[in-house]
Symmetry: none
Subunit: 229 residues, 4 copies
């Protein structure tokens, strides 16, 4: 159920669908070079930011020449997509684990999801900042940013509707809008905490956001359910 990162939404679109990558390495050596470039790009982007990074720095960091870059990517844009893709995987993956337990209480699921989200956000904060930033100027990334949110929101909306139909959640809420608002709340407080560096211990973040979700949906719960793991 519930938060943005809950489950890997099969519908989250891949940037790979949008572009035509220049080439898939044919040889093992080529695959190694390509992987080195992607890894180097993340290092450079995190160090210098996307706009202030230079392709030559990425090549250098990867130990290859400028020309080699163009063997695998057509633009800076394209390698960024590869890097974001990888970061997304990490953002989405962890949630799945916790949520397989089908018999978990709604509260427990929300709590686990929130925690997983904050942990992965923290790991990927630099790339999240860059992603957010690009969404501000490049329509392609803005679209992608929107799609990601929508996928989460749709799934959470389904979960909320389910709880409503079982009489467990406030029936007067529009499930889709509520999902959007509450997912956004999680995303934003993660941004504030890790991107704007207003440090708060993760346990407190988990506690307060889980309680707010529960209250906002008018879920019935026992105080013990909100205790720290």
């Amino acid at each position: 159920m519930a938060v943005e990162s809950e489950v890997v939404p099969e519908s989250v679109p891949s940037l790979a669908d949008l572009d035509g990558s220049r080439r898939t390495p044919a040889t093992a050596r080529g695959a190694r070079t390509r992987a080195a470039l992607v890894a180097a790009a993340r290092v450079v982007f995190e160090r210098d930011g996307y706009l202030d990074s230079r392709l030559s720095d990425i090549s250098a960091e990867a130990g290859s020449s400028t020309g080699t870059f163009y063997t695998y990517f057509t633009s800076k844009d394209e390698i960024l997509q590869a890097v974001i893709e990888a970061a997304q995987q990490d953002m989405l993956h962890p949630g799945t684990l916790h949520l397989e337990a089908a018999d978990a209480s709604p509260i427990a699921v929300i709590q686990a999801s929130n925690r997983a989200y904050f942990e992965s956000y923290q790991r990927n904060v630099k790339m999240m900042i860059i992603f957010e930033q690009l969404a501000g100027s490049d329509p392609k990334f803005r679209k992608l940013r929107a799609l990601r949110g929508q996928a989460f929101t749709r799934r959470n909306a389904r979960a909320i509707a389910d709880l409503q139909s079982r009489g467990l959640a406030d029936a007067d809420l529009d499930p889709f809008l509520a999902a959007r608002a509450l997912s956004g709340m999680i995303g934003r407080i993660a941004y504030t905490t890790y991107a704007l560096e207003e440090h708060v211990p993760i346990e407190e973040l988990v506690a307060v956001t889980t309680r707010l979700w529960a209250n906002a949906l008018r879920l019935q719960f026992d105080e013990s359910e909100l205790e720290v793991r």
Copy 2:
């Protein structure tokens, strides 16, 4: 009380404190030119985006020469500060009006604040996108972004604590963190709606966010209070 835009927080910091603008106009003519440049900058930024805008376009839009720009500003950065400053004023101001009514119910105040916030966000969405974007790369703007949020959060935290002390709100919530999460929720859904252009009628936004606030704080309210204005 309550949401991010509730009241003009006297403590919201001005960028003017941070920079030493090149020159303050000594004559009325100078003041006119400077104002024309700021207005032109907003037009150009909204039209072309911050990064793709050129100083020469701003000068041209203002009807002056490139050199004149440098009479009043040292960089694109600096004039952006002036533009954001103006946008902030507009973001912060409207809320005040509604909230003077001391006898308004908490729900009514939240509702009015939310509406005012969404309206002003819509008016300034292009600049908000740019501001968000810059906060991602420039520490100066990031700091400012953080300070703005803090000012709102602090005030809302005070309001929540007040409601708690009167026995009206969930006493188990940390008022400061709750304020941060709920303020963020409003800001983020405004971003999604207007910046990412996932259109939702403002009445629905107001309705759902107000109900979520009320639920989240466990305020007692009558359904009629949540009816559209």
Copy 3:
């Protein structure tokens, strides 16, 4: 007799002859403003160098506005001329005093002249550097630089020829070329000492240069004449 700075050569050309200064102040207030500008220019030139100085800085230093500058001067070039003129006066003036004593021995005159030259060079070193520098790029100043040297050389050549005719100096020397070489020696060692900052006590400079002059011309002298003043 002798060194570059010996006597105010009536023939040293003034820059005023070359240009048409914009205007001579008609009022006392105007004269004051003009004087303030010249003084300010020297301060700014010495502080920032000629090329890196801005007219606006000169105006500001003088306490007037940029526009006022053009009431008295037509260009940066022109005010530099005024400043150099003033410095030249100081370079040339001191020598006269010592040399009026017609019965002084040649050695004593050379010694006094050298000392006077080093002292005034030290006072005006910053402007000398600027003058030398301008001579490197601007034909007008190069011409002036040459004329100044020539005036000194001509006079010193006359003195050398006089000594030769009296049988006191090496008759095999071309008086004009010798004068040029020996005057240049003084000028250059002053440059090295004060402009390139290779510090040597002035007494040592005076002693060695005077002895070299005496030797070079094969003047007969008593060691006691070379003792420090």
Copy 4:
């Protein structure tokens, strides 16, 4: 022995020690391009002067694009260093030849050195003017200017001290200061003749300066030694 240009002083510092050039060509093609830029820079500097030259002119003269300039140099300053370096080599080199003859008389050595100096100064006069000019404003070049003079002075001082110890030169002269003054005399008269264009046949320059050196040091010599080559 003796004049500024006598021997290649192994201690003359290279500017290459001071800077970190942008890139050292890795291929022959790169080396060719870099060399073409340095040659073009000298042409442009001599034609237009340093201050009035534009980087784009250097690139054009070298037959490459503006961007290529920045592949090898970071600034006009930096390429000037390379050009001066080359000119210095030419200034310093010629003297060596003449002086190998260990049995040459002191007078003959001085004479040959002076001639070599004047000849190389004439070849490089435009660059010497520029160097002198830059020394007036840029501390880096001023330092270099000073170091060059010092290297010559030190060596000449050694030669003078040697002559003194053999009883051949005036023992009352401080060898270091005398060397500085006499080296400077040569440098300055070369400047006057070639930079300020006060034309004097080189034979006369050699004759008068050699005689002045000999006299100044009180060397014993036969008139025949001073005859033109």
